[in-house]
Amino acid sequence: MLRTFWRWLILPLLLITVGFVITIYTVNNPTDSLVARALTYSNVFEALNQHLMLMLVSMIGAIIIGVAIGIMLSRPKLYYIGRGVENIVNVGQTIPSLAILALFFTILGLGFRVAVFALFLYSILPILRNTFAGITNVQASIIESAKGMGMTPLRILTRIELPLAFPIIVAGIRTAIVINVGAATLATFIGGGGFGDLIVTGLAVRRDMVIFTGASLAALTAIILDYIIGQIEERIVRWT
């Protein structure tokens, strides 16, 4: 039992190891002094730290706010507003992430907080949309029988609608994470830090090794987070 339970940890641990190997190799085998200056342990871990903070803070905020607004819009009284918001969200999703960051830079200026805020707004969209869609797509007959048996609207939400919408909400969160990781590498342009710093530095000094280190670590972070969320979902949803 224990062995099957812990088995899911193998892949993320493997990926983390790969990340460490790449870091250790590139830091210890710089091709020249420019690379050596860009790739130090402190630089890489600073970038990792910033990158994770950018993602975690913006994602947690986006999940809380996105799910909350999604639930609110799915209530019968706000349903038609919800349909409208859904359309606006779909349009919002088509704006490139770089444009969003640039837009917030012109309004709010530079820095980590602005980057977090922009990422947060950008990540809300898929979560909100999927929460709304997940809840409103629960079969009407299921809701009606729950109502007819005397369940209160709050109980219907917590016992029926949210559990049934859960897989779709999680799919939205996973979409948001993937978008978020990509967008987080762009945060460097408005002083947000993260692996984007390495990539931009690498581009500036034309050293592929630095670009490769930043890009591969960013990709690994995305894969690991997506995998963990997927595992959590699999463990909770048992009824399909």
Partner: protein
């Protein structure tokens, strides 16, 4: 007792009211079937009783209490509710589904568990086998049973059923109907039952309320409805072959006792003895049972002539058509037609032989009643 007084329901945006000034009384322990073409307001009427729809005007009394003044949540907790789509919760196990109302009422766990097992057994699902399964692992008929069990589990005095057997094949439907009638005989709930199928209405109802365009056309017992339709509409709804519809009203056990049939043969009976028994009557075959009175099969006269001295067991032909005694004569008739034979064997739940019904018996019944 349920009493609807001058109930009207208008939906916004529609000129005609869905239900128009309807008066209806359902006595305690009765099954009242609302029947009519689709769009006649029968479902709307039913859904006003537990206030899924709020009536535009009029009042509803449940056991002399004004339902419209009660807290709708409390009202619904004491009204069993089954809809055609069943609406089982796909993420809950069968046990959890059935325990929905007890959980809402915050029953203690062991009481809930005991009652859930009891009710699942009552509808013919072994809680040990099915309790932990999810609805997706059940057949349509089994889901319908779970739906009915879920509505009955907290022993509500009143049940509302909207085409509860609508989504299954005809054979399963007949079986579920018979099972339900057997359960209802024991628990005598006050039931409002909606269907568009007049045959089902005649079979299930103590009274039938025929509706048309939001109005109540006739409310009568099934036999009165068949004997004296109030107008052309009701007459066309019950159809031309009313005498055949009467077969829905009569259960097999009601006529079984009056029939004069030869005793069944037992498996160890010598063929000669069976032949002697048959010689006095014009019957061409005889049922064979074992020592526990369980039905084994049938022996025809032609087989009896073949060899003297042998026992019945050697010449038994297996029998496809058997039916329980709480099925209706109409069920018996359709089984005969299906099998292409002029008789069916009647058995009880333990496969024990109860008697035989022939096509001639059915004709006699139709003649007498008509």
């Amino acid at each position: 007792m349920i009493k609807l007084v001058g109930i009207t329901k208008k939906f916004p945006g529609l000129k005609k009211p869905a239900v128009d000034n309807l008066n209806l009384e359902v006595k305690e322990g009765d099954v009242c079937v609302l029947v009519g073409p689709s769009g006649c307001g029968k479902t709307t009427t039913m859904k006003m009783i537990n206030r899924i729809h709020e009536p535009t005007s009029g009042s509803i009394f449940i056991n002399d209490k004004d339902a419209l003044k009660m807290n709708p949540i409390k009202l619904r907790l004491d009204i069993g509710y089954v809809i055609q789509e069943i609406g089982l919760f796909p993420h809950h196990t069968i046990e959890e589904n059935v325990a929905t109302v007890p959980n809402e009422k915050k029953w203690p766990k062991d009481k809930t568990k005991q009652k859930v097992d009891e009710i699942l057994t009552l509808v013919g699902l072994d809680p040990k086998i099915y309790g932990k399964r999810y609805p997706s692992a059940l057949s349509g008929g089994q889901r319908q049973r779970v739906g009915v069990a879920r509505a009955m589990v907290s022993d509500p005095p009143i049940m509302l059923m909207d085409e509860p057997f609508g989504a299954v094949d005809p054979i399963t439907r007949a079986r579920l109907q018979n099972e339900f009638l057997r359960i209802q005989e024991r628990i005598s709930k006050t039931i409002v039952f909606v269907t568009h199928d007049i045959d089902e209405a005649i079979k299930m109802g103590n009274t039938i309320a025929v509706m048309r365009e939001g109005k109540l056309v006739q409310h009568a017992t099934p036999s009165d409805l068949l004997a004296a339709p109030a107008d052309e509409f009701v007459a066309s709804l019950v159809g031309r072959n009313r005498s055949i519809k009467r077969l829905h009203l009569i259960r097999i056990r009601e006529i079984l006792d009056h029939l004069d049939r030869p005793k069944p043969a037992t498996v160890d009976m010598p063929l000669n003895d069976i032949r002697k028994q048959l010689e006095d009557s014009d019957i061409r075959s005889v049922m064979v049972v074992d020592q526990d009175n369980k039905l084994k099969g049938i022996i025809g006269v032609n087989d009896l002539k073949k060899k003297a001295g042998e026992v019945a067991a050697d010449y038994i032909q297996e029998l496809d058509q058997s039916i329980t005694s709480d099925a209706t004569l109409n069920d018996a008739l359709s089984m005969m037609l299906e099998c292409g034979e002029g008789y069916v064997a009647v058995i009880n739940e333990d496969d024990q032989y109860q008697g035989t019904i022939t096509l001639g018996d059915l004709l006699n019944v139709v003649k007498e009643e008509g």
